[in-house]
């Protein structure tokens, strides 16, 4: 048996054993350990399979035709594109699983860690099988396993009403995706027996333009609801804060990326790409998602919800890369299109890395302080120095600061947008500079947002007793954050090498391939074909390091004298945390600038002294930002659904006679149908 097949078997066996063993574990502690053991064995198998496919570029096949043979059985084919996503899943799930062993300790006795272990491993199995699936049945089953098990993971703390509400939103949105996924596959395979992806690829070429359009729209909505594009992102800011943090890291870092995988697989692999307007739609949806995601993150003061909105932003950036590549491809600029797609895939990997890291960091903060509200945090850099350092690395990476990985992928996306200048049709080319403006605004706002997230949560003085009593988290949790932080640095410095690997993967997908050999590039520079633009994150890092060391040496040689004193405060006696800037205050200027988008509701009540209105007893100020498009899109839907549900409830009268009548009516109706169809 080939190495890849063995590794895939180890993966499936590891996850299955982890699920079963943790279910029958004797204690909560044993359940936690067994959960992680299964996940680590499974993840190691998956990573080995993915790496071997990426290294040898030979796909791994496995077929189990006897399992549900009517639906085509289970067909597995791990090609380089799937292997890339499998590598990404396992690279984040390995640290997350180990992190969870100690992180979940606070749940001991509070909720069933056995069921949690079952669902956690089922979730990993579902996610890992999605990129390996090679027929409709396997794909949909894995997709649904992933959706259902993650629903239970979100519901871990189901005693809170917020969690139950989040679970409802998540279940509704994720099943909206499934409901659209089935007709999408049906449209591609209509009138045919075989449902393997190899056959679908052949059918895809024969579809009419109208069917292709329908498939595109269904795929965009179905996979978009998983990826979290605006306005289908509503479940992200609800479900991510509700789930345990290492589950959020997996959902946000990895699971939503499978929406991107689905889009690439269906639109560019099975259908082989489409007309120019597909790319235009992807570009527009990406730009809007990126900008709105970061705008709502700015006014969010819950650490995990802020990170969830940033996932919306980053999915937007990935879609901008996909859309730009698709537009360039459709006008024949194939070599330049590869830059956009490379940027998109690279950003997918990078986002998994830094968002996983940031959620694990937020989890450590939440474990120690029991709050995610930034207004109650502060001063953690002296209490949790290592967590703070890792969170800072993640923040700088997501803000696209050089020389970290976010910079490299955003640079590629920017270059693909600049390549739009080569398009001779002005009506297409004019969209690119607008996307440049939106992407630049997004990255500027992201930098502002992460100054807020890191600066308010970790710096200065603690704003509450919880924050003041925080201690550094367990070493195993810190080690896992170190792994991901190291990933951010290495992916940044080795960006040219990684990007070259990505372009090889892209070359293997029919709808993405440049159709010409990839120009050789150096391993030091990120480059663009037909252009002299180049950047070397490694060289930038070396220069920065050298200058810092030189200046540091010069200053210390001159004898640096440092005196510790109080912060200057205009003659006040002592400094208290109440004097610090708050997260709300930090975001206030931008909230005012974008007031048209936020439409905040403000409530100011001033309690005056009864004797004179010049003496104020208390002032209460509350302000809320409720996303207006949630009200526009979802309120009517929810109202209609509730109305229908209320009507349906009349059936439930509670009378036994009525129910017997239903039974008889149903029987008569069934018989009538049988007679009619005969």
């Amino acid at each position: 048996m080939a190495f890849g097949t063995v590794a895939l078997l180890v993966m499936a066996a590891g996850y299955t054993l982890g699920a079963v063993l943790s279910l029958v574990a004797r204690s909560d502690r044993a359940a936690r350990v067994l959960t992680a053991v299964g996940a680590v064995v499974g993840g190691a198998g998956g990573l080995a399979a993915a790496v071997s496919v990426l290294a040898t570029r030979v796909s791994v096949d496995a077929v189990l035709p006897t399992v549900v043979s009517a639906a085509g059985g289970i067909v597995i084919r791990l090609d380089p594109l799937g292997a890339f996503f499998l590598a990404l899943i396992t690279a984040v799930s390995l640290p997350a699983a180990v992190y969870g062993t100690t992180y979940m300790a606070e749940y001991d006795g509070r909720c069933s860690l056995r069921v949690f272990g079952l669902m956690f491993n089922a979730f990993l199995l579902g996610m890992s099988v999605v990129p390996c699936a090679a027929n409709i049945f396997t794909f949909v089953m894995a997709w649904e396993l992933m959706a259902v098990s993650s629903y239970f993971l979100v519901m871990t703390e189901s005693e809170h009403s917020e969690t139950r509400q989040a679970g409802l939103w998540y279940a509704a949105m994720t099943h909206l995706g499934l409901v659209l996924l089935l007709p999408m596959f049906f449209l591609i395979a209509a009138g045919h027996e075989a449902t393997a992806f190899v056959d679908l690829r052949a059918y895809g070429a024969t579809l009419t333009a109208g069917t292709r359009t329908a498939v595109f729209l269904l795929a965009l909505t179905a996979f978009g609801s998983k990826a979290g594009i605006v306005p289908l992102h509503v479940w992200l800011p609800r479900a991510h804060p509700a789930a345990p943090s290492h589950v959020s890291a997996l959902m946000s870092g990895v699971m939503i990326k499978l929406g991107i995988y689905g889009l690439i697989r269906v639109l560019f692999d099975l259908l082989g790409g489409g007309p120019a307007w597909w790319g235009g739609v992807l570009l527009a949806v990406g730009s809007v998602s990126a900008l709105l995601g970061v705008l709502y993150a700015l006014v969010e003061h819950d650490l995990k919800r802020l990170l969830a909105y940033h996932s919306v932003e980053n999915i937007g950036i990935i879609l901008i890369g996909l859309g730009a590549g698709s537009l360039l491809h459709s006008v024949g600029l194939r070599a330049l299109a590869v830059i956009g797609w490379t940027g998109a895939l690279f950003h997918t990997l990078n986002h998994a890395c830094f968002k996983g890291l940031l959620f694990l960091g937020a989890g450590s903060v939440k474990q120690q302080t029991h709050t995610g509200n930034m207004e109650e945090l502060g001063g953690l850099i002296t209490r949790m120095p290592q967590t703070a350092l890792y969170f800072l690395v993640g923040s700088a990476a997501i803000a696209a600061l050089p020389p970290l990985n976010g910079f490299a992928s955003e640079w590629l996306v920017f270059q693909s947008l600049l390549a739009g200048a080569h398009i001779s049709r002005p009506e297409i080319a004019a969209g690119f500079p607008i996307a440049v403006g939106m992407l630049a605004l997004t990255s500027g706002l992201a930098a502002a947002c992460f100054v807020k997230a890191f600066g308010i949560s970790f710096l200065a003085m603690p704003r509450s007793d919880h924050a003041a009593q925080a201690r550094e988290c367990h070493w195993s949790m810190r080690a896992m954050m170190l792994v991901l932080a190291g990933g951010c640095v290495v992916l940044g410095l080795a960006a040219p090498w990684v990007a070259r690997g990505m372009s090889r993967i892209i070359d293997g997908v029919p709808g993405l391939s440049a159709g010409e050999p990839i120009p050789p590039s150096s391993s030091l520079w990120l480059t663009v074909p037909n252009s002299s633009a180049q950047v070397s994150p490694l060289l930038l890092a070396v220069l920065l390091g050298a200058i810092t060391v030189a200046v540091l040496g010069a200053i210390h040689a001159g004898g640096l004298r440092v005196r510790r004193a109080d912060t200057w405060g205009c003659g006040r006696i002592s400094q208290t945390p109440r004097m610090e800037y708050t997260a709300s205050a930090f975001a206030e200027p931008l909230r005012r600038v974008f007031a048209e988008v936020y439409q905040p509701t403000q409530d100011l009540s001033i309690n005056m002294h009864p004797e004179s209105r010049y003496f104020i007893q208390s002032i209460t100020y509350t302000s809320h930002v409720v996303p207006w498009f949630e009200q526009v899109f979802y309120d009517p839907v929810i109202r209609t659904a509730r109305g229908l549900a209320a009507q349906t409830r009349r059936l439930q009268a509670g009378s036994l006679h009525l129910y017997l009548l239903y039974v008889v009516a149903a029987l008569v109706a069934a018989l009538a149908c049988a007679w009619w169809f005969q």
């Binding site: 001063g379 850099i381 800072l392 700088a396 600061l401 050089p402 910079f407 920017f414 600049l418 200048a421 080319a429 500079p433 440049v436 403006g437 992407l439 630049a440 605004l441 990255s443 500027g444 706002l445 930098a447 502002a448 100054v451 807020k452 890191f454 600066g455 308010i456 710096l459 200065a460 003085m461 252009s531 002299s532 633009a533 180049q534 950047v535 060289l539 930038l540 220069l543 920065l544 200058i547 810092t548 200046v551 540091l552 001159g558 640096l560 440092v562 005196r563 510790r564 004193a565 912060t567 200057w568 400094q575 004097m579 610090e580 800037y581 205050a585 930090f586 206030e588 931008l590 600038v593």
Partner: protein
Amino acid sequence: MSRYAVLVVQPLVALGLAPGLVGFVRWLKARLQSRRGAPPWQPYFEIRKLFGKEAVVSHTASWIFRATPFVVFGTSVVVASLVPLILVPASPLVAGDVFAAVYLLLLGTFFLALAGLDTGSPFGGMGASREMTVVALTEPTVALSIVALALSAGSTNFSQIVARTIAEPAAALGPGHLLAFIALFVVTLAETGRLPVDNPSTHLELTMIHEAMVLEYSGPYLALIEWGSALKLLVFLALAANLFIPWGLAFALAPGALAIGLASAIVKLGALAATIAVLETRVAKLRLFRVPELLSASFVLALLAVMSTFLVR
């Protein structure tokens, strides 16, 4: 060999010129306001004196506060090695393009804003919040000005942009270039904390942006930050001058060409600095919430610049 020298020569020249540039603006402003003013070389003395003094660091400050001056200074110096100042950086070792320069400066600002929050002083937080607001709103204009330049050059590489403008001067005088130049100049005022966005000589808390962030710094740390900020001003002015009016830049490491490059750089920077001084005497500072209007106007200019480039090609 000569091609690598740019990595060393340019930052050194920039470091040498930067305090003088700031001093020149201050001196000219004083003269325009009928004051005598300090001589243009005053900032050199200030920096030297600050390096000799002790640094006072707040009890609440962490290592971020002490690391920030090095990040700010380091990023400014690296950017100075990338941009065309007296020499066109044609070396294959030049580490980045326009985007790299912009994001490196953003790295410096990111750390400066964190340092502002680190001391727990309300001034620092206020400065950080305002600075990040202004920087976030300038990013799209910066990016679009770059696009306008890169569209005609076909690349974001500095040497390519400069070479293209010199080869086709007719394109350089086109409307697109002019609009992009104005947009970039407005952005320069905002990014480097000049009037009408920020007032570099104020210490009134209602109006401070940059000064509020660096309020807690003293001694050598303050010297590094001041020098880094001066360098940032020089880099932005050099970008505005040499990307749009590149004539005089040296293309080789010959003494004659370098001398011409240096002289032309000083003349161009002096002219732009004089413009800033005149502007700062003539206009009042904008209210913070009027700044977005100015920045969106500059964004529209940059967008028009790009669109006109599409039209005329």
